[in-house]
């Protein structure tokens, strides 16, 4: 891997600031000054309309001073919200890491939890109670940040009135939280306490091996409840009222255009924050974003902004970085429907795809072929699954009563519209046709319709699916296939599988627990073939690492702005 120096570690000696010249710098500064000429034009635009307020914001946000400490990148779609309690998507979380900080944060290189707002912690003997020591710090407005703020913030996420979509993460894991979340118990039964200003105590439902990793998730971030109450939801996140505790504070927010954050001088580690501003652009179209990078207008193209169709050109670039990540691309069966209620059919289909060929010759992005489901992590070994074996596939299909594909009903594959998914399923269609003699229709749906079909009505035979970990733990992948679990789209059910996962939930992290989880994974894919895994995605981005540091490839694909710095 390339050399990356996280800002927190020995930054002072970095000596890299000498190289702070940006390409096209002088040219852009010229363009910058001429922005003044743009003023009258936008003012005349104002007279055209009745709703004129925002144009003022537009004028106020005229050119930012250009310095090598200003980082600009494309964040993709417009964020749903800047309130970490309400957000669900990746673009939103990327902003939340700049504006807020939880007890732990993800390390730049490993993605593993390291101290954030909490400087240290102790764990009780039964591994259920964590006692955190908080740093002596303040909110961005100067108000002292206390342990009670953490309690209040978490209770706000749990409060059913907040309607947080990630509240279940707290509800499922913190003792007493589930009842409060469901409106069946009082807030003071939730096992989170602030015995003094700097001490925060939480008791979990079990010895969660992933507790510290989970605490870095945006649902556990600390938000200023006093500001939420003062300005109200939807208002406290506007630049005029914004208060946070992250390395950056909100300066500008223009919907569909850009969000600008500036360095927070009151952040506890402000001395090590080397960027002045970060601009998050809102460009949905990946080609537009990539062109912007090519023209030198932005500094970084994250994974979700890379145009798939141009991968042949992109993968040759020196500034293209990639590494396998902990997310899985797979197809899910509705196991209650014929002919997929027969495990032999499911296995035959899995054995009739040459995944190596798919990732090497079709996708070409460096994804890692797998017939197992859970990416290797922390001592957990992925099962081998039922890999490419065309002869065995044909035999299994014959045993199931369809020799050479004869008599096999016409099947339909459902996927959400996307260039990549189309590429994969057309290839799979051709493989199954040539190896097994099976015909398959491809049916693409727009995203919302697709979700409806897959989750609510379960009205599909085979569907495309993917999973990105919320936190690094095998259970985060396997739990969704428990009988009647919310994300169990294929209606898979196996009592032994459920029992194994139930047992793993009460075990401390370690080889014994990994073994139980490995057994569960083996049942899911090798024995029952409830899904067909294809590959682990690569995490990738385009960044000139001679100019910028602190953005590293890590398996969880979380890149917190706290670590970013100019070289």
């Amino acid at each position: 891997m390339k050399k990356h120096i996280p800002a927190g570690l020995g930054w002072a000696g970095g000596g890299a600031r000498r190289l702070c010249f940006r390409r096209n710098g002088s040219k852009k500064q010229k363009a910058e000054r001429s922005t003044i000429n743009g003023k009258p034009e936008s003012q005349s635009g104002r007279s055209l309309i009745a709703i004129g307020g925002p144009i003022l914001a537009l004028l106020a946000a005229l050119a930012l001073p250009l310095a090598a400490q200003d980082f600009v990148f494309n964040n993709g779609t417009e964020p749903q919200s800047l309130d970490p309690a309400l957000i669900t998507g990746i673009p939103e979380s990327r902003i939340s890491y700049a504006l807020f900080e939880g007890l732990t944060v993800n390390d730049a290189q490993t993605g593993l939890p390291v101290p954030g707002l909490a400087s240290s912690w102790t764990v009780s003997r039964d591994l259920r109670t964590y006692t955190f020591t908080l740093r002596d710090t303040t909110w961005s407005d100067g108000t002292p940040l206390t342990a009670q703020d953490v309690v209040d913030a978490w209770l706000r996420v749990l409060n059913p009135k907040t309607a947080s979509q990630y509240a279940y993460l707290l509800g499922d894991n913190i003792a007493g939280a589930d009842a409060f979340l469901k409106g069946q118990g009082p807030a003071d039964h939730v096992q989170i306490h602030a015995p003094d200003r700097h001490t925060f105590v939480v008791t979990f439902v079990g010895p969660l091996p992933y507790a510290l990793a989970m605490l870095a998730h945006n649902a556990f971030m600390v938000t200023p409840t006093f500001a939420v109450n003062r300005f109200g939801p939807g208002e406290w996140t506007k630049p005029a009222h914004f208060i946070g505790n992250g390395p950056y504070v909100l300066k500008t927010w223009r919907p569909q255009d850009q969000i600008v954050v500036v360095k927070n001088p009151r952040y506890w580690d402000a001395a090590n924050i080397k960027l002045h501003t970060i601009t998050y652009l809102t460009i949905e179209d990946q080609n537009v974003a990539f062109d912007k990078y090519r023209a030198g207008e932005i500094d970084y193209v994250p994974d979700d902004s890379i145009p798939v169709g141009r991968i042949d050109e992109i993968r040759l670039r020196k500034d293209y970085h990639h590494q396998p990540s902990s997310s899985i691309y797979y197809y899910t069966f509705n196991v209650t429907r014929k002919p997929f209620d027969d495990v032999r059919v499911r296995k035959a289909l899995s054995m009739a795809v040459n995944r190596e060929e798919l990732v090497r010759q079709v996708l070409k992005a460096g994804d890692v072929a797998t017939a197992g489901f859970v990416p290797p992590m922390g001592g957990f070994a992925t099962t081998r699954g039922n890999g490419f074996d065309p002869d065995q596939a044909r035999r299994l299909l014959a045993q199931a009563g369809y020799p050479g594909g004869r008599g096999f009903p016409k099947i339909t594959f459902t996927y959400n519209t996307s260039a990549r998914h189309k590429l994969v399923c057309e290839w799979v269609q051709q493989q199954w046709q040539s190896i097994l003699g099976i015909d398959m229709d491809l049916h693409n749906l727009e995203w919302n319709t697709f979700l409806d079909t897959k989750q609510k009505t379960h009205d599909f035979q085979i569907a495309r699916a993917g999973w990105v970990a919320d936190y690094l733990d095998p259970s985060n992948y396997l739990d969704m296939f428990k009988s009647r679990a919310g994300n169990n789209d294929g209606l898979y059910s196996n009592k032994r599988y459920d029992a194994l996962l139930g047992r793993a939930a009460t075990m401390p992290a370690g080889p014994a627990r990994n073994q139980v989880l490995e057994q569960a994974e083996d049942i899911l894919v090798t024995q029952d073939q409830a899904v067909i895994p294809f590959f682990f995605y690569v995490t990738r981005f385009i960044l000139d690492d001679r100019k910028w540091g602190g953005i590293c490839l890590n398996t969880i694909d979380i890149h917190q702005p706290r670590w970013w710095y100019p070289k």
């Binding site: 001429s34 034009e41 709703i51 144009i55 669900t88 939807g234 062109d291 912007k292 319709t449 409806d452």
Partner: protein, 309 residues
Amino acid sequence: MLRFMIRRALSLIPTIFLIITFSFIIIRVAPGGPFASEKQLPPEILAHVQKRYHLDESVPRQYVRYLGDFVRGDLGPSFRYKDFSVNELIGYALPPSMLIGALALLLSVVVGIGAGVISALRQNSWIDYGAMSLAVIGISVPLFVIGPVLKLGLALDHHWLPTSGWLGGRSGWLVLVMPVLTLALPYMAGIARLTRASVLEVLRADYIRTARAKGLTETVVVLRHVLKGALLPVVSYLGPAFAGIITGTVVVETIFAIPGMGRLSIQAAINRDYTLIMGDVIVFSVILVVMNFVVDLCYGFLDPRISYS
């Protein structure tokens, strides 16, 4: 005249009402909802989310509630963008669309009418052939080709202009150049062809012969008589064109990353953002109806035979 205006203004009300009703029904018939997500919500939280946006009520009640808020000028909260109301979002998205649209239209009217008139007066000259060939290209090449080709030449091969973005970024007002050009080209071409055809027709009319017979100079004939008569079809083209151009063009906004109405509407539809879709539809239709009304008024000015009584 005043009575005509009042009557037309009043006729807006049932039109808007019908549009609201139809869109309200169509949106709710579409599969998927605003809170669908890959990671499914626990039912108790979904219930609270739905309650917050009144989705737990019956559809007729939601409809009545929406109409009530609409009359008070409130288009409701956006379902998707939780920190903004629909009014705020449209307030942000309309000015960029209008600015680009107005500049593009201005450019296309000036160049288009100019080219049309000159081509007609110099019929069958090389100017005529040249201008009309360009116009055919302008009409037939789609925006999604013109835009990227301009971008390739002006922003990627040579770094003369920024590839995309909006005012307030690193590049200042230069961001306006390519989107305005791209958007203006087809309209410019359309207007040029219309103007040319129309001027040629008017030039053969009796009243032009009369004007010349009176001994008026050619300039006065063209500017006062020919142009006034010839602009009628151009004006009826401009009404809907103006409404279309200032309410945002998805293609141009996407190619040049402009934070305008077109992108906002597409995202709203994809996200099933019920209130935002409704808001967009209402804004579009009000502008369209108003522009048609303005066109009707212009007819009276340009053609003395039309009266509003």
